[in-house]
């Protein structure tokens, strides 16, 4: 059959480094580093205290090792916790002040930041290493009362909102990586949609790691007030490097009564080379709170990058009649490992959750679905539907499923379906007999497998995701 290696020529296209002067914290982590970061950001006292508390808690916590992944010990003192492109002023006020190199970087990544070049319907917050370098369409969104800006800016201009919501969904001591993030987070995106407003465009954050030996710790906070709705996208890339880099982000979503948040991720961090050298450790805590009744939070993720992925975008369904959704495609190729899934915690009455997880493993990839559905005694009349499908390509990869379902009252029900299949010779033969190349046949079969997830992505992203999938799986069937 086809020589798999011949397909490997296509390399990770985002692996370049931007030559830029950076303002960097000294290596290692201690209270001084936290003070350094807080000072850089000119933060109010409460936030500095909040960080310190998280840090002190973190010191007493142990790195979790229950996930089905293996990696050498991380030396938290051999890492840089803050790195930002040097700038003359406190922060760019307009695009003209953003370093040309950075603008070119985003251009190269296919995310031009000049508003006239953007697709009209998407506003972008660009996060470069530890800081947000630009946010587009801010003024236009302001007309609707929508706040969309970098986290640092939110701290300066909307301290009350930050104080009210920061850590509400993911407390600073929630878990080891969330605590680390709370201590050292440097930037991220902030978004507030006021009552009754439907956000007129897609909001997005594009994360780029550039500096070496640096961890990226960003925090995203999205609050949708009563009756509002927003669709939010997140994309990520990083240069090719031999050493692993840590990305430990926290995302918090709050949906008030009848509000809807749709959060989509296309994760394409550098995955390491084919022998597993380098790549990003993507250890992320994402959680949404359906605070009000009839609220809805929907997570869609396409995870193709990172050498290790550890993330469980979850929903706490507190409001009665609230809805949580999780649609996921996770692809592991070569030596990649993913342990991902979701938690749906049903607290309110008549709450509903849907989980559709599609795992694809190729070569030596290891893919684990881990999920928890908990319907509490008070969550009467609640429902969950879970479907976990795994697709294996080759015979040295692995797929595991660890679903946990707890139904604690009699009026609720949970359904779980799981399948494991292989791309088989017969499917390939059928497609090729119709004149298709092996590449196209595989991409079609895989795309079909992921369809239920892709259809939940915004149009622009769906195309990107399906292209990415093709690239990630190049040469994986031989």
């Amino acid at each position: 059959m086809t020589d798999p290696e011949s397909f490997l020529k296509k390399e990770y296209p985002y692996g370049f480094v931007t030559p830029i002067e950076s303002d960097t914290a000294p290596r290692g982590l201690n209270e001084d580093i936290i003070r350094f970061i807080s000072k850089k950001k000119n933060e109010p006292e409460f936030l500095f205290e909040w960080r310190l508390k998280a840090y002190r808690a973190w010191l007493k916590m142990k790195e979790p090792h229950w996930a089905n992944v293996e990696y050498p010990a991380i030396d938290y003192q051999d890492m840089i916790y803050y790195s930002a492109p040097k700038q003359k002023k406190d922060g760019p006020k307009s695009l003209e002040e953003v370093d040309q190199e950075i603008l070119r970087t985003y251009e190269k990544l296919g995310i031009p930041l000049e508003e006239q070049k953007r697709l009209a319907g998407v506003a972008v917050d660009a996060v470069f290493d530890s800081v947000s370098v630009a946010t587009t369409f801010k003024e236009k969104l302001k007309e609707f009362g929508i706040v969309f800006c970098s986290f640092s800016e939110a701290v300066q201009h909307h301290p009350d909102l930050v104080k009210k919501y920061l850590g509400l969904v993911v407390p600073p001591t929630d878990n080891f990586f969330a605590a680390l993030n709370a201590a050292v987070f440097s930037d991220g995106s902030f978004c507030y949609i006021p009552k009754g407003v439907r956000c007129p465009m897609e909001l997005s954050t594009y994360f780029r790691i550039n500096a070496a030996d640096t961890g990226q710790f960003e925090r995203t906070l999205i609050v949708a007030d009563e009756g509002s709705s927003v669709s939010y996208l997140e994309g990520c890339t990083a240069p090719i490097r031999d050493k692993n880099q840590l990305h430990a982000a926290v995302v918090e979503l709050v949906a008030h009564e009848r509000a809807q948040i749709k959060y989509s991720t296309v994760q394409n961090w550098y995955a390491g080379d084919k022998d597993g050298k380098g790549g990003i450790y993507n250890f992320v805590t994402k959680r949404g709170l359906c605070q009000g009744s009839h609220s809805k939070i929907s997570w869609t993720q396409v995870e193709t990058g990172s050498s290790i992925t550890w993330k469980y975008p979850s929903c706490i369904l507190k409001g009665d009649y609230s809805t949580g959704e999780f649609y996921s495609v996770a692809v592991v190729n070569n030596r990649q490992q993913a342990d991902t899934g979701t938690k749906m915690i049903h607290l309110g009455k008549n709450t509903k959750s849907t989980i559709i997880s599609k795992g694809i493993s190729a070569r030596f990839g290891k893919n684990t679905y881990r999920g928890l559905v908990r319907i509490t005694p008070g969550a009467k009349g609640s429902r969950n539907y879970t479907q976990c499908d795994s697709l294996l390509m080759g015979d040295q990869c692995a797929a595991d499923t660890f679903p946990s379902i707890e139904v604690n009252n009699r009026t609720s029900q949970a359904e779980h379906e799981a399948t494991t299949s292989k791309i088989n010779e017969d499917q390939l033969f059928y497609c090729k007999q119709r004149g298709m190349s092996e590449e196209n046949a595989i991409s079609m079969i895989v795309h079909g497998f992921c369809k239920e997830v892709f259809k939940n992505l915004p149009m622009e992203f769906a195309v990107e995701a399906s292209r990415l999938l093709g690239v990630s799986l190049e040469g994986s069937v031989g």
Partner: protein, 246 residues
């Protein structure tokens, strides 16, 4: 157009075809009949290039080229079409998309311009009339949840769309009720052309009531034991395969 000489084929250690000779000229319809396990399906798959079948001896020439040298997809692009006995499901991929991809890859290989979505749809709807398929079919995933009859009709539709020079139909009549058999057979008849050859593999004579073959061959124990005209099929129907053994 197609010449098979002394073809021996094995799967694993088992030899299934033990020296097949068959010559098919342009526009001819050849029926290959035989009892279960005689090697009929093996013959169809080896012509299409299935990787599990190994040719241990013999030659197959197609339009002057060595067919066995070509990859599966190149055979398809050069006009070899196999209607599968058991068409496989491709979940999540709709028929229209599947066919468009196939047509455009074949066009690309021929140096023709690819059809855009609208052009293709128009072309496809025209072809769908041949096997009386309604438009709802376009958005259904390939073969998934299809009835036996729908699967076979779909195979003939694909044949109509891909416009092959050599169509090999593997037990296209199996699992069809009488109405479906009629639709499928009439579909095949509409696709008969002076420059298109058809090899029709079947267990029963009944499809030949609708599609009149130019030649009938009887395959038994991996060899063609008898060849003749369309009357041979009727004889087989009356007497079964047993009398051949003498």
């Amino acid at each position: 157009m197609l010449e098979i000489k002394n073809l021996h084929v094995s799967v694993g250690d088992v030899e299934i075809l033990k020296g097949i000779d068959l010559k098919v000229e342009g526009g001819e319809v050849h029926a290959v009949m035989g009892p279960n396990g005689s090697g009929k399906s093996t013959l169809t798959r080896v012509l299409a290039g299935h990787p599990a079948y190994v040719v241990t001896e013999g030659h197959v020439t197609y339009e002057g080229k060595n067919l066995l040298d070509l990859s599966v997809e190149d055979r398809a692009r050069q006009g070899v079409f196999l209607a599968f006995q058991y068409p496989i499901d491709i979940p999540g991929v709709n028929n229209a998309y599947f066919l468009k991809t196939a047509v455009n890859e074949i066009r690309k290989a021929k140096g023709l311009e690819e059809l855009d979505a609208m052009e293709f749809l128009e072309f496809l709807k025209e072809k769908m009339k041949i096997v009386e398929m309604d438009e709802g079919f376009l958005n259904r995933p390939v073969n998934e949840g299809f009835s036996g009859g729908e699967k076979k009709r779909n195979e003939i539709l694909q044949m109509a769309v891909l416009n092959p020079k050599l169509a090999i139909l593997d037990e296209t009549d199996s699992g069809l009720d009488i109405d479906a058999l009629k639709i499928v057979s009439e579909g095949v008849n509409r696709l008969r052309r002076p420059d298109r050859s058809i090899i029709l593999v079947t267990h029963y004579q009944r499809m030949l009531n609708y599609i009149t073959p130019d030649f009938v061959h009887v395959l038994m124990g991996g060899k063609i034991v008898k060849s003749g005209g369309k009357d041979l099929a009727l004889q087989l129907e009356a007497k079964g395969y047993e009398w051949m053994k003498d």
